[in-house]
């Protein structure tokens, strides 16, 4: 297998392998570490109400970086990326409906809690 080791970045005749350039891997890693430190700092500070949203935006940036480069979705067929988006979409759908419903009937729970919790204390 001696010959295959030196044709490093050149495209192989087999057409299967698309190695990601090393520099890009390291660049992505350092960006991710940077974003982690950023999210820890902003996590400590309190923004009026949108600190959860900010944390999620940073996390989504990190996630897309990992997906595109580390999981080389950028080089693969778009259908694979679509599969992943599909799963996130379905989680979002499930989250939205259940959260909407829970928000609606919280009032009934709180009313019951006010009536009953004080007795059991």
């Amino acid at each position: 297998m001696a010959d295959s080791s030196h044709n490093h970045d050149a495209h192989d005749d087999h057409g299967l392998a698309h190695p990601v350039p090393l520099k890009l891997l390291f660049a992505v890693f350092f960006t991710l570490v940077g974003l982690t430190i950023l999210t820890v700092i902003t996590g400590q500070m309190t923004f009026a109400g949108f600190d959860l949203a900010l944390a999620m935006v940073i996390a989504t940036c990190k996630a897309t970086l990992v997906c595109l480069i580390f999981m080389h979705l950028k080089y693969d067929k778009p259908f694979l990326g679509m599969i992943f988006l599909f799963s996130v979409l379905f989680v979002g759908l499930f989250l939205a409906f259940t959260f909407l419903d829970s928000n609606e009937y919280n009032a009934d729970i709180n009313e019951w809690v006010r009536d009953n919790m004080t007795i059991s204390q």
């Binding site: 009937y105 009934d108 729970i109 009313e111 019951w112 809690v113 009953n116 007795i119 059991s120």
Partner: protein, 332 residues
């Protein structure tokens, strides 16, 4: 036997009802029946069409000669696909809209509704009125009067549960709402006919789920006021009688007083006797044991009985417990 008395009430509701539905005993019942019949006839016609077409095609184009090839016929036409997608959708929009209107009305009690609190626990219902006394459940076999309400008055039910999921369902009023522990759920109805209507539990809740029956007694306004005044408070009754009424409401769905095992042990003549608990410990039945078993039943389970009693901690006041103890002591 009270058992048949209650269930005859269930059968009674059938005489006035039509083939599909029990008697229309609430303002809303007629509306539900009309929606039902609309959907019923739309479905019946479309069912007849599809089954008729299948049978007709099957007979007309049956394969008389073995290996017979069919005549030429189109095997795609977008226009017919659109037609038989749009028409069902139109019917469904009407169904949805009508059902939606009735449901919104079902879920929003009128402002002036008279509130009654419905409490459910493993295998019995009980009702309490904000200003009146807590009445027993019309448990089958028990003398409880069930949910007593005046006629032609909107009644708002605040439903809660002490242990597992139950569901308060009165077929004659076409109402149903689950009892979820840890929160309130609401339903309302306005009875239009005086009489007795059975209440079923329609959310599976364990061994005696099929016996968690009760009834709604609809009285005229005068009878209701008379009944309410006659109830009075438990506190005015002698302790043994108060204990006995309370026992009917809270305990009779699992404990008998005639020596036979129901779910829990029979409690007559139990006071002073020695009981062997799961795990071999022995305990004599005294005031403290009865109190602890009421508040924290799972701590001391008698040998040979399921650990299925609902803890009453926080649901019975001190004197209610003492009435129960005096009543249990009194029955030999």
């Amino acid at each position: 036997m009270n058992l048949s008395a209650l269930l005859r009430a269930a059968a009674w509701l059938q005489q006035d009802g039509d083939y599909f539905f029990p008697v229309e005993a609430s303002t809303n019942a007629g509306e539900v029946d009309r929606i039902y019949y609309f959907i019923f006839w739309v479905s019946a016609v479309s069912f007849a069409l599809i089954v008729g077409a299948t049978i007709y095609f099957a007979i007309k184009y049956r394969r008389t000669k073995v290996g017979m090839n069919p005549e030429d016929s189109p095997h795609h036409s977008t226009s017919i696909e659109i037609v038989w997608s749009v028409i069902p959708t139109l019917f469904m929009i009407v169904m949805f809209k009508w059902g939606f209107d009735d449901y919104v009305d079902r879920r929003t009690p009128p402002g002036d509704a008279y509130q009654v609190n419905v409490h459910s626990q493993k295998w019995s219902w009980s009702y309490s009125y904000d200003e009146g006394p807590e009445t027993g459940m019309g448990w089958l076999g028990g003398e409880g009067e069930g949910l007593v309400v005046p006629v032609n008055v909107p009644i708002k039910l605040r439903i809660d549960s002490a242990d597992v999921l139950h569901s308060f369902s009165v077929p004659a009023f076409r109402i149903k709402m689950d009892a979820v522990p840890g929160r309130y759920t609401y339903a309302w109805f306005e009875a239009t006919k005086v009489g007795e209507y059975p209440v079923f539990c329609t959310e599976y809740c364990g061994t005696r789920h099929s016996r968690m029956l009760s009834k709604v007694q609809v009285l005229s306004q005068e009878d209701f006021d008379a009944w309410m005044k006659a109830q009075g408070n438990l506190a005015d009754l002698p302790p043994v009688e108060a204990g006995q009424k309370l026992f009917q409401r809270k305990c009779a769905s699992c404990h008998n007083m005639d020596g036979t095992k129901l779910i829990g042990p029979a409690l007559n003549g139990l006071y002073g006797k020695e009981e062997s608990l799961v795990g071999g410990a022995k305990v004599t039945v005294d005031d403290n044991y009865i109190r602890d078993s009421i508040l924290e039943p799972s701590a001391q389970i008698v040998e040979g009985y399921p650990d299925a009693m609902t803890p009453f901690a926080g649901q019975l006041s001190e004197d209610e417990i003492s009435w129960l103890i005096t009543y249990i002591k009194s029955v030999k």
